[in-house]
Subunit: 136 residues, 2 copies
DNA sequence: ATGCGACTTGAAGCGCGGTTCAAGTCAAGT
DNA sequence: ACTTGACTTGAACCGCGCTTCAAGTCGCAT
């Protein structure tokens, strides 16, 4: 009973299926220090189910434009990591700026899709709107 | 007076300096069909000043997450290109969705930067917030 | 014992958005 | 005539986020 192969652990194919990621991506994330199998059955990786939550978080952050290196740093964050918390706060400001930029861009596109100018890019309204997207 | 080398045109170094892009990037954009010199002085590219506006627009779109190929397509847009206008409208919806996603992410980060949980990623509030960033 | 299917490894390849490099061209200055 | 300096070219290289590939290792069923 002591050294049994834990039935609750998932193999890489299962994690891939349930996370929507390719096995190759999971091994890649492991090399980057983002995830780690709880054990091995022989050569085979055996993952804890919580790994799926972690992968959800990683996917989120990646979708949001964080690099895997940034995510890797954030994942180990403890309350005492003041430098890291500062970077998170910085990232928040960065994301906030990006939200405002994309909002302006969306408004430009909104105009572009109803504008009659020929060629489109020469429309003065469009050009003015676009210039507001990233001024300087 | 007829075949004079147009003094109003800018050489690549000037365009680079004024656009903030490297000359190599300008040549790269040319290969991708984004810009084109108005003329050559011998081998040297000679750009119209309007190219700077175009580069501003390109920079905008690129900052906004468009690929250079997409930008290249948009740049030739005429009002009659209905397919292209549809794609612009689609892009608008895409950008809008992204704005909402990033807004949620910003809120998560805002919490993260004041949260005391150890490790940070295990904070239930943070996890709940994060799950809202890209649900399914 | 043979084969299968799912896993393992390291190395190479890919698309994107460029930069860097070597080798060459050209105009202007001394 | 020679140097300097900004340009030209094509090809190679880069970091990122992976995928693909070849070759090998398992456990299990026939």
């Amino acid at each position: 009973m002591a050294g049994e192969t834990d039935e609750a652990l998932l193999d890489i194919g299962e994690v891939a299926r349930r996370s929507g990621l390719a096995p190759s991506a999971l091994r890649f994330y492991e090399r980057k220090g983002l995830i780690e199998p709880a054990a091995r059955n022989g050569l085979r990786r055996a993952y804890r189910p919580e790994t799926l939550d972690r992968l959800g978080l990683i996917g989120c952050a990646r979708d949001a434009g964080f690099t895997l290196a940034e995510i890797s740093a954030f994942l180990g964050a403890r309350p005492s990591d003041t430098a890291l918390r500062d970077r998170m706060a910085a990232k928040e400001r960065e994301v906030d700026a990006r939200v405002r930029q994309l909002t302006r861009l969306r408004d430009s596109l909104r105009h572009a899709s109803v504008c009659d100018h020929d060629p489109l890019v020469e429309c003065p309204d469009f050009k003015r709107a676009i210039r507001n997207v990233s001024p300087r």
